[in-house]
């Protein structure tokens, strides 16, 4: 089993609430992603068994939704908005800055497996641009100094958790 008890119970509870069991597919993917940080075929198979929906339907839905990475990513997934409102406030140069600071290209993960950097479509933080999402959290009105501080704090947090 890849999914832990809490995730399985969460998925079952969600499935019981909907008028149709198929509606639980997206909540199940979300719960699995929350635990794993990515999705893949093995996870679809487990979800399929839990909510009793054919594997192919799970895989088909999952492939549509871009919010879930389909392979393992770093401990922190950095998603930078590259849309118009953020771009007008320096998002392109912020992406450059993050690449050089982390010494990785877009879509890549740092060698210590700490950060994965991608750019995404509008995240709805337009009035607080430029912005990025790291795992579940939004970071807005960003500057170089703020980015430095955020990354340092996340690294320190990871070290703390490792201990």
């Amino acid at each position: 089993m890849i999914l832990n008890d809490a995730t399985v119970q969460n998925i079952k509870a969600r499935a019981a609430r909907y008028p149709s069991r198929r509606s639980a597919i997206l909540p199940a993917l979300t719960a699995a992603y929350k635990q794993m940080g990515y999705l893949d075929a093995d996870i679809y198979l487990e979800i399929s068994r839990i909510i009793k929906i054919p594997y192919i339907e799970i895989a088909e839905a999952a492939s549509f939704y871009t919010m879930f990475p389909k392979h393992e990513v770093g401990r922190y997934l950095i998603q930078v908005c590259h849309n118009i409102s953020c771009s007008l406030r320096g998002a392109d140069n912020m992406i450059e800055y993050l690449q050089s600071k982390l010494d990785i290209g877009m879509g890549e993960t740092t060698p210590d497996n700490m950060f994965t950097l991608i750019s995404v479509e509008c995240l709805g933080g337009c009035s607080a641009a430029p912005m990025m999402q790291i795992n579940e959290d939004y970071y807005e009105d960003l500057t170089r100094a703020k980015v430095d501080k955020i990354l340092d704090e996340l690294r320190a947090k990871a070290m703390q958790e490792e201990k």
Binding site: T66, M67, S127, T143
Partner: protein
């Protein structure tokens, strides 16, 4: 100017039910349940003239009126919180800061159409707003505003928060329903309209967060008061999300019909840094441009249409003279090409072609005839798709070429920008 939806937006703990009640919340609901049969409620909302705040501006009461009565099938209400139109970030604030106002609106709307299950479809990235909604719903159950026999009225309602998976298309109402049913978020051909055959093939109404948030206020203060805000055909207030090259970006609530210039210059502080205003995308990234000489256009559905654009979702994106418009067009089309669900060929292939052509112009590889090619592709997308995403890609693209054709021509001829875009990040 009176703030209605944002009256308590700056209070630190307005999201808690006790504070919402203290500030006049959950007063509309008991009145509705005791005094207003669904028909009368629908009539009252029709008279208020409140129009959908998600972008289309369809009268909310009329939408409810399409739901058939007594057909022996369950009915559903969906609160559309899949806020994804570039530039738009208002529903998020309502859910984060004043979620009970949205919950109360959902209960009122559900009662109007006699739905006993309602869904809040929140975009997946909005983990925090979704959490706030979940917490608010939990509090509402504890106080007896949700569940069985609400406040002794005999009316039952459950609300389920459903989070998405990162797809702009799911904000389109039929795609939202596909997604809720566990499918890929593909839009569906209409008719049948959701009011007749929507979620699980049952009558369904999809209303935007901000639309629903208006309802408690309309009930509490009446149609005449509501209509004292805004214009005859666009009554009420509206939240505008101000972004881009603006001194004070943010969400501002003003009466519909307020001049665009007031929001940009008075509230937003104008374009900073001494740069000149170049153009404005006034209603979310899908809407045609307004030029600086149109800055006094009133922000209501009719005036914006008359000026050649749309009120849309109320997302005003301000662009200064430092932007190359080919670059702007590329940023926009990249979005639509990425977000096209792929169901309709004109949109799937057309947005991909537009992206390819505009990108090659931006990157110095533009060819003679590319401008005509873009316009030709636009013509073959517009009006030929099931949902409005295709049109949404075309409208800003055509508008940018109409107003800034010279920048495209320069780009193609010289292989570089007339204005080199380089917004600093410091």
């Amino acid at each position: 100017m009176e703030r209605v939806l944002f009256k308590y937006v700056d209070e630190p703990e307005q999201y808690r039910i006790d504070n919402y009640i203290k500030n006049g919340g959950y007063q509309a609901l008991p009145r509705v349940l005791k005094e207003l049969p669904p028909d009368e409620l629908i009539d009252l909302v029709k008279k208020s003239g409140v129009r959908g705040r998600g972008g289309a501006g369809f009268p909310a009461g009329m939408k409810w009126g399409f739901v058939p009565k007594d057909i022996g099938r369950p009915k559903y209400l969906c609160c559309n919180a899949d806020e994804s139109e570039p530039g738009t970030c208002k529903d998020r604030v309502l859910m984060e800061r004043d979620p009970h106002m949205v919950v109360e609106g959902i209960i009122i709307a559900s009662y109007a159409i006699q739905a006993h299950t309602a869904f809040v479809y929140v975009r997946g990235e909005f983990v925090y707003p979704a959490h706030r909604m979940e917490e608010a719903i939990k509090e509402a159950y504890e106080k007896g505003y949700l569940g069985k026999n609400i406040l002794g009225s005999g009316f039952d309602l459950d609300i389920i928060v459903h989070t998405g998976g990162g797809a702009y298309i799911c904000g389109e109402e039929t795609a939202l329903l596909s997604s809720l049913e566990g499918d890929r978020g593909l839009s569906r051909i209409r008719p049948p309209f959701p009011a007749i055959k929507g979620l699980y093939a049952s009558p369904t109404v999809v209303n935007n967060v901000e639309t629903l948030a208006n309802l408690p206020h309309i009930i509490n203060r009446g149609v005449d008061w509501y209509r004292s805000h805004g214009t005859e055909k666009s009554p009420g207030t509206k939240i505008f999300s101000l972004s881009g090259n603006i001194a004070r970006p943010g969400n501002y609530e003003v009466d519909l019909g307020t001049p665009l210039s007031y929001v940009i210059n008075e509230l937003g502080g104008g374009v900073p840094g001494g740069y000149k205003l170049k153009t404005i995308i006034p209603g979310g990234s899908s809407t045609p441009l307004l030029m600086p000489d149109q800055i006094d256009t009133p922000l209501d559905f009719e005036s914006m249409a008359q000026a050649g654009s749309m009120l849309g979702s109320g997302a005003i994106i301000v662009i200064d003279e430092r932007a190359c418009m080919v670059w702007v067009a590329m940023k926009l089309i990249n979005f639509y090409a990425h977000e096209s669900c792929g169901k309709c060929t004109p949109c799937r292939e057309g947005t991909a072609w537009l992206k390819q052509i505009i990108s090659r112009i931006e990157n110095g590889g533009g060819q003679t005839g590319d401008i005509e090619l873009i316009l030709d592709a636009c013509k073959n997308i517009m009006g030929r798709t099931i949902c409005p995403l295709g049109d949404a890609a075309v409208m800003p693209t055509e508008s940018i070429i109409k107003h800034f054709r010279d920048e495209f021509a320069y780009h193609i001829e010289h292989g570089k920008c007339l204005v080199k875009t380089d917004y600093p990040f410091e």
